[in-house]
Subunit: 234 residues, 2 copies
Amino acid sequence: MANGTEHTVKAFDDDIVELRGLISEMGGRAEAAIADAMQALVRHDLAAAETVVEEDKRIDELEGQIERLAVRIIALRAPMADDLREVVAALKIASVIERIGDYAKNIAKRTAQIGGPHKIDALAMLPAMAAIAAEMVHDVLDAFAARDWQLALRVSERDRAVDDFYNSIFRTLVTFMMENPATIGQAAHLLFVAKNLERIGDHATNVAEMVYFAAKGTYMAERDRGEDAIGTEA
Amino acid sequence: MANGTEHTVKAFDDDIVELRGLISEMGGRAEAAIADAMQALVRHDLAAAETVVEEDKRIDELEGQIERLAVRIIALRAPMADDLREVVAALKIASVIERIGDYAKNIAKRTAQIGGPHKIDALAMLPAMAAIAAEMVHDVLDAFAARDWQLALRVSERDRAVDDFYNSIFRTLVTFMMENPATIGQAAHLLFVAKNLERIGDHATNVAEMVYFAAKGTYMAERDRGEDAIGTEA
């Protein structure tokens, strides 16, 4: 009997290790997609942009794999309490990473729309904003793996910097558009790029909240974290 | 023994009825939020916009309730195969509806930013676009409740109309901005409103794909459904 239980526990642990490995791979790919999409955009590299779009399929496939594995774990191992919550959390995190991958893909797709060399002021701010967003994704998955609520808290705090970038880029772009009406089409796409990065920060923050809650059993403080910023007018 | 099984089946069915009821309530609220947000925006009604923002909290709470109920069903009833898939589908659909509610909230929040009476051409197209998106949300939840793959297919087909609206509004807004640089700040917010509606259509389509797959066991045809549209330049 003790042996049987041990066997079951071992099988469950193996499954969880596999599940975490898949989430870690998925997160690594999403993080890389953000950086690659931004580089493609800044360098106007259409081939690199196409690669990001193609590679997003692998991120989607990983979500499918995680879902199937989670359902199998639940069906075969019938995990209880904390174990079940971990499996459900993995499902939710996979769905958030899938969305982050979509945002990166969307940025890549705009490379062709934005077109050739451009001197739009706000463009210079985007890579720095993308770097913070990608780092948040990286760190929040580390926090999840290590159940590190302090790291999760630090990730959520960085969302303020991403929102500040967003508001600043929004204002810069609106001003730029007013002064250069001919570039409005290009600049409009950059508005969406900034928005996508802002949403990536929100999603990383949402995962941070989950990690925090799982570890501490209480919610992060009141202020609106992971909230869609509106952008303020110039 | 037969009695025990019957009892379990009955308890599971009761749980599923409750789960579906919560999803239906959540969907109805999200659908209403889209219409209410659009009306608040068009009429520049700040109080109505505030109500949409407030009511979104209830949608978020419902997602939490659905998650807790789903986890309880899995833990207590240990559903197998199709039943387990239904519970997992409910979890996923709740997360999609939560996002749809967020898009409606985001539209409402822009009411204040867009400001007083405005005569931006594209504004006239937005309510019609919002009506289609809200109807897609309505119908896809009916399709889920009735496991009606044909209705799900019709929902996904309507996504093309939403994408066409989006591309048309994008072009109209960019042109308008070029001709009226003073309105660029307002018009930029309307770009995001159109984008939010386009995303609502995508999410309804994603649910339609889930319903279709659950009923037919095969995926909907090849063309990219539920895909983020980029918008083309004027």
